[in-house]
Amino acid sequence: MDDTLRELYQDVILDHSKHPRHFGKLVDATNTAQGHNPLCGDRVTMYLKVDASGRIADIAFEGKGCAISQASASLMTDMLVGRTVAEAEKLMGGFLHLVKGEDAGDLDPDDRERLDVMAGVSAFPMRVKCATLAWHTMKSALESGETAKTE
C-alpha cells in the first residue's frame, strides 16, 4: 500500500468528505461566494454570517466535489466558525502554505495539528487546487462576496 496515498486519504479526511460538517445553506447569510475549480468542474458555495463584532457566527457550504475538496471545506468550516475575521484570515494564510508544502508560519499548535491532516496533499501537486477551493471561496466571501476560483 502506498504510504503517500494513505497519508492523503487518511480516515479523518474520508470521514469529513463522507459526512461533511456545516453542509447546507444559511438563509440569513451576510456574505456568500461561489467557487469553481475549472480542473474538475467542482463547485462550492460558501455562506457566512459575520456578526457586528466581526466574528463568524455561522457558516455553511454547499457543493459537489472530490474527497479532498469536500473534506477540506468541511474541516475549514469546522475550524472557522466562532472566530473573528482576522483570525480566520491568519488560519487561511497558514493553510494555503501548508498544502503547498511551504512553511505555514506561526499557527496555534492546536490549529496546526488539525490542519495537518491535509498536509498530505502537498505530495500531490495536481490536487492542491482541490484542497484550496473552499478556502479561496471563503476568502472571496469575506472580502467581497465575488466568485472565487482556484487558478
Binding site: 500500500m1 502506498d2 503517500t4 496515498l5 494513505r6 492523503l8 486519504y9 474520508l14 480542473l39 474538475c40 468542474g41 467542482d42 459537489k64 466535489g65 472530490c66 474527497a67 479532498i68 500531490f124 495536481m126 490536487r127 482541490c130
Partner: protein, 414 residues
C-alpha cells in the same frame, strides 16, 4: 520485440511498444500504463526522428523561396498534404487545409463557411455528445449571428438514432455538425447515413474526426461528408497541427479566416484579393515541421495492419468491459454496439478525481472529469466520469493492472 517484427498481417502490440520511448517509463516506481490516449496519444520514435531529421537537414520556411532548402521544405510540406489527402480518401490535395489542430479546423468552418451564411433563426444540428470543440464555435454563431442550436439526444447506451438526427433537420438547418466518434462514449455515429439524410434535405455535414480518424478507416468520398477534421496529436503525431478536409466546392466559396502571408493574391493599400484554397486558409508560416511529423505518423499507421490494430483495440475494450463487471459500484457509460476503444464509467461513492489519483500512483494514467463534453455529462446526470481510452500499444496485461488498481482504490477511498 523489435520494431521490425511487424511483418505479419497480424499486429503485435508488444512489439510496437518498443517504438514509443515514453512507454518504458516508470511512474512512482510502477510501469507506466497509459490509458489517456483519447486526450492525446504518445508518439513513436519514427515521428520524433522524422521531425528532428527534417529540422536538422531540410528546414526552411515554405513557399515563395527560390533557394534549395525552401524547395525541400516546400516539397515536404506539400507531400504531407498528399499523405493526409490519401489517408482521408480525399479526391484532391487542395481539399486539405492544415490547421493548428482539430479545434481550429472546426472554427475555420464556423468563421469562413457558416458565419456569412447564417441569418437569425437559422439552425445548426448537433448531438449532445459533442466535444466542446464542436459546440462552442456554434455557440459563437448563436451569440453573434442569432443561430439556433438544435440538439439531438442519444439513446441510453450512447448510440445515435438516425431518425432523431433526421427529425432535427428542417428547412432552416444550415449545417449538421456531428462527431464521428464520441471521445467519452466511444460511440461511432452512422456518418454515411447522416450525410445521406442531410443531403436529401440539401444540408451539408461537418464531421468532427478528432477521434474518428484514429479508430476508423476514413474515406471522405465514400462518406460523402462535406467537412471532416482531424488532429495530429491523437493520431500518434505532433501537437500544433491538424487538418480540415473540405469539398472543393465549399472551400472555393469560403472567405478567408486568418489574414496574413501566403493567403493573398495581391495586397494594396486599398484592397486585397485572396489566394485559392488551400492557401487561402493557411495564413502565416504554417506548422511546417509538424506537417512532417503528421505525415510520419500516418506513414507509421499505414505500415501497420490497421484492421488488425482495430481488432486489437476492440479486444482491449471487450476485455476491460468484462473486467469491470466485477465491480458492482461501477457503472459504464456508453455501450453502443461497435463502439471504439474508449471506456467511461462512474463510480459510486468515489469521485473520479480521487480515483484517478489512486490509479496514477499505480502507474495507470486515466482521465477524470467532464472530458470537454459538459452537455453529455448533463445528459447522464453526472459531474464527471473516469475514462480509460486504449491505443494501439496497450495490452491486456495493462488492463489487468488497471482492474487491480480499481479494486485497490475502492479499499482506500470507501
Amino acid at each position: 520485440m523489435t520494431a521490425q517484427s511487424k511483418i505479419s498481417t497480424a499486429f503485435d502490440p508488444v512489439a510496437t511498444r518498443a517504438d514509443f520511448p515514453i512507454l518504458s517509463k516508470s511512474i512512482y516506481g510502477k510501469p507506466l500504463v497509459y490509458f489517456d490516449n483519447g486526450a492525446s496519444a504518445q508518439k513513436p520514435r519514427q515521428v520524433l526522428d522524422a521531425m528532428r531529421d527534417f529540422s536538422a537537414t531540410e528546414y526552411s520556411n515554405v513557399h515563395r523561396g527560390v533557394h534549395y532548402l525552401s524547395g525541400k521544405a516546400t516539397d515536404r510540406y506539400e507531400a504531407s498534404r498528399r499523405t493526409v489527402q490519401k489517408f482521408l480518401g480525399a479526391a484532391h490535395e487542395d481539399e486539405i487545409v492544415f490547421t493548428k489542430g482539430g479545434t481550429e479546423a472546426i472554427n475555420l468552418v464556423a468563421y469562413s463557411y457558416l458565419a456569412p451564411r447564417i441569418q437569425p433563426g437559422d439552425e445548426i444540428v448537433l448531438s449532445v455528445m459533442e466535444h466542446h470543440s464542436n459546440i462552442v464555435p456554434w455557440h459563437f454563431l448563436r451569440e453573434r449571428n442569432g443561430a439556433v442550436l438544435k440538439w439531438v439526444d442519444i439513446r441510453e447506451d450512447g448510440s445515435l438514432d438516425i431518425e432523431a438526427v433526421d427529425a432535427a433537420i428542417t428547412a432552416k438547418t444550415k449545417l449538421v455538425a456531428i462527431t464521428h466518434i464520441s471521445n467519452v462514449l466511444g460511440t461511432v455515429t452512422p456518418l454515411a447515413e447522416i450525410v445521406a439524410r442531410a443531403h436529401a434535405k440539401g444540408v451539408p455535414v461537418l464531421a468532427d474526426g478528432a477521434q474518428g480518424a484514429v479508430h476508423e478507416l476514413v474515406d471522405v468520398q465514400a462518406l460523402d461528408v462535406d467537412f471532416y477534421t482531424l488532429t495530429a496529436h491523437k493520431l500518434y503525431g505532433p501537437t500544433g497541427i491538424g487538418a480540415l478536409y473540405g469539398k472543393r466546392k465549399h472551400l472555393k466559396g469560403m472567405r478567408p479566416f486568418n489574414g496574413g502571408g501566403e493567403m493573398i493574391r495581391e495586397v494594396t493599400r486599398d484592397v486585397v484579393t485572396y489566394a485559392d484554397p488551400p492557401a487561402r486558409f493557411e495564413a502565416g508560416t504554417p506548422p511546417i515541421i509538424e506537417s512532417v511529423g503528421l505525415a510520419a505518423a500516418i506513414d507509421y499507421l499505414n505500415g501497420l495492419d490497421r484492421a488488425a490494430v482495430r481488432a486489437h483495440e476492440h479486444d482491449l475494450l471487450t476485455y476491460a468491459r468484462e473486467g469491470v463487471r466485477q465491480f458492482n459500484w461501477l457503472r459504464v457509460i456508453g455501450d453502443a454496439p461497435g463502439k471504439a476503444s474508449i471506456l467511461s464509467f462512474e463510480t459510486e461513492g468515489m469521485h473520479a478525481h480521487d480515483l484517478a489519483t489512486v490509479l496514477d500512483r499505480e502507474g495507470v494514467a486515466v482521465r477524470a472529469g467532464h472530458h470537454c463534453a459538459q452537455p453529455l455529462m448533463e445528459r447522464f446526470g453526472v459531474a464527471s466520469t473516469t475514462r480509460a481510452s486504449f491505443g494501439l500499444y496497450n495490452t491486456r496485461a495493462e488492463v489487468d493492472v488497471m482492474l487491480e488498481a480499481l479494486a485497490k482504490a475502492r479499499k482506500i477511498l470507501v
